[in-house]
């Protein structure tokens, strides 16, 4: 009877397409919104992922990566002295204003890397050489800085601008993950960064560290916390901390959460209702099959087969459309779009659940159906 079930499903093309459209729309809406939300969350921790180091050490009261709480310069040596730490380097991170030659001001994030190792430097350089950052007054911009500060005609390798009345010369353009705030990032050495910013008693923002090979990162982090009294986090932990802060302290959590939830409810309601209506409209046909000797179990199997067939087709098409949308919009970096397997799995489970629920409602209706309906 599987053959009959599928022919019933595909036979009425208009009904089938309507059903498929409902499910496809539901899946696309959820995947698209969910992926944009997750993309935004990834952007919120771009400052962490762009530096790509395993351990972050700072003030224990830190709430998120961009809310810097300076610590004493001695922290670097104290972290280095912890057993199990392979290396530890200082990092400066702070906001500053850049004044371009055309007189425009732009707020930038100044990132100071240890000059000896340049640990935390972006992996990919689009233009120039990152090592030239060691030359006097040199800085490296990320590609978003170029975009925000007026484009490649205004800012390029060789451009000179001022940071707190001090000269800064662009020697390279690096490729980085776009950040949540999209404030231009200017890389320089730690020592030069300190010279650029107004004098403060404490200038060290973070200590970046790595555990020795073979040691548990969690154990080393525990030791750093115990021996230095500082807060130490894995990059992943710090990323989640930042993400949760953004969710809690900005409207993103509620706004996107509501949109996704509504998308989910509306999408699933459309899917469930459409499939239920499909069954109800075929009730007379099912009644005829029941009169001819088809058991409720046989009809239930037919309905489940129809539900899963159209559900999985809608899932595939919906994900395909959402992915095309994502690849078109995210390729330019203008829209955050990160499609994760967890989201796809969640949507699949939700869709199958709604298929099962709507099929079950239909099956219950069929089980109660007196086949005498066909004589009316």
């Amino acid at each position: 009877m599987n053959y009959v079930a599928l022919k019933m499903l595909f036979g009425d093309r208009a009904k089938y397409l309507m059903l498929l459209c409902g499910l496809t729309f539901a899946v696309m809406l959820i995947v698209q919104q969910g992926s944009i939300f997750w993309g935004l969350m990834m952007w919120s921790q771009a400052s962490i992922t762009n530096l790509n180091v395993p351990i972050w050490v700072t003030d224990p009261g830190i709430t998120q990566v961009d809310e810097v709480k300076p610590i004493a310069d001695t922290a670097v040596d104290r972290v280095r002295s912890v057993d199990g730490v392979e290396w530890a380097v200082p990092l400066y991170k702070g906001l500053l204003r850049a004044r371009l030659a055309n007189g425009e001001y732009h707020q930038i994030t100044l990132t100071g890397l240890e000059s000896a190792t340049l640990i935390g430097r972006p992996a990919e350089v689009l233009e120039g050489r990152f090592e030239d950052i060691l030359q006097p007054d040199s800085v490296v911009l990320d590609q978003w800085a170029v975009e925000r500060m007026g484009g490649p005609t205004v800012v390029k390798v060789g451009t000179v601008f001022e940071l707190n009345d001090k000269l800064a010369r662009v020697v390279a353009i690096a490729k980085t993950q776009k950040s949540f705030t999209n404030i231009p990032v200017v890389y320089t050495t730690y020592e030069r960064a300190i010279r650029y910013v107004p004098h403060e008693r404490r200038t060290l923002s973070y200590v970046l560290a790595k555990a020795k090979d073979g040691l548990s990162v969690e154990d080393v982090i525990q030791r750093i916390q115990t021996q230095t009294g500082l807060g130490a986090f894995t990059a992943e932990e710090f990323g989640w901390k930042t993400m949760l802060w953004v969710l809690k302290n900005t409207g993103i959590g509620i706004n996107f959460g509501t949109t996704i939830l509504l998308g989910f409810i509306v999408g699933m309601a459309i899917a469930g209702q459409t499939f239920y209506l499909f069954t109800v409209e075929n009730l007379r046909q099912f009644g005829a099959l029941k009169a001819m000797g088809a058991s409720t179990l046989t009809l239930a199997r037919m309905i489940l087969l129809q539900a899963f067939t159209v559900g999985l087709t809608g899932y595939g098409v919906g994900i395909g459309l959402a992915t095309v949308f994502g690849s078109l919009t995210a390729s330019g970096g203008s829209l955050p779009f990160v499609e994760t397997w967890q989201l796809l799995l969640l949507v699949l489970v939700a869709l199958l659940t709604i298929c099962i629920v709507s099929a079950t409602v239909s099956i219950v209706k069929l089980a109660r159906l007196e086949p005498a309906i066909v004589f009316r």
């Binding site: 009959v4 019933m8 009425d12 029941k290 000797g293 409720t296 007196e370 066909v374 009316r376």
Partner: protein
Amino acid sequence: MSTMNNDSQPAAVRAHSVVKSFGTGDTKVTVLKGIDLDVYLGELLLLVGESGGGKTTLLSAIAGILDIDEGQIDVLGIPLSTLPPGKRTTFRGQTMGFIYQQFNLLPALTAAENVAVPLLIQKIRRPAALRRARMMLDRVGLGDRTEFVPKNLSGGQQQRVAIARALVNEPRLLVCDEPTAALDGANGQKIMELLREVGRSPDRCVMVVTHDSRIFHFGDRIANLTDGRIVNIERIQQEGTV
């Protein structure tokens, strides 16, 4: 009222004191008020009577697709009215064929596939079921229409497909509800001729609910059901007269 006109034949269908009501309280309507009826193998029985008299309800009850409130219905010696629903469904699939006023063909299936449905329900493999279905369609004169979907067939042709579907699993009880009601006079006559020709057999009984007096002469007996009671059962003496 039990008929004993055919004592030599065992009763294929035996309805005894059948009562069926719909609704509750003030809106309760008793449609069947103690029906007694025997139908014999080899005969074609017409159930006639005024609209709302209970003809279709009685047919549904005898076919086991409607529960009765009181009484008993035996079909081919099986107490159908007391069988559990699952067994009743299986019994129905194995022994009965149905012909409906509105044909109830599955619109997405071809004529051959529609006819094969009762066999597929009996878990006969599709190629074998389709082979038998095409043979049955040939018997009802639609051998050249096996791959047509219902919407491309005329009303008469659709009813022929329905007859083929009802007969394909060689049922011993054929129940027909107003099989000519959706057809014009000429087509109605043709359908009844076909039903007599291919539907009747010594080991099968055919029950037809109808109010179409033009087809009365096709029956062996006519049971008149009025206001929930069988008021008389007549044997057809000669073609067209009762």
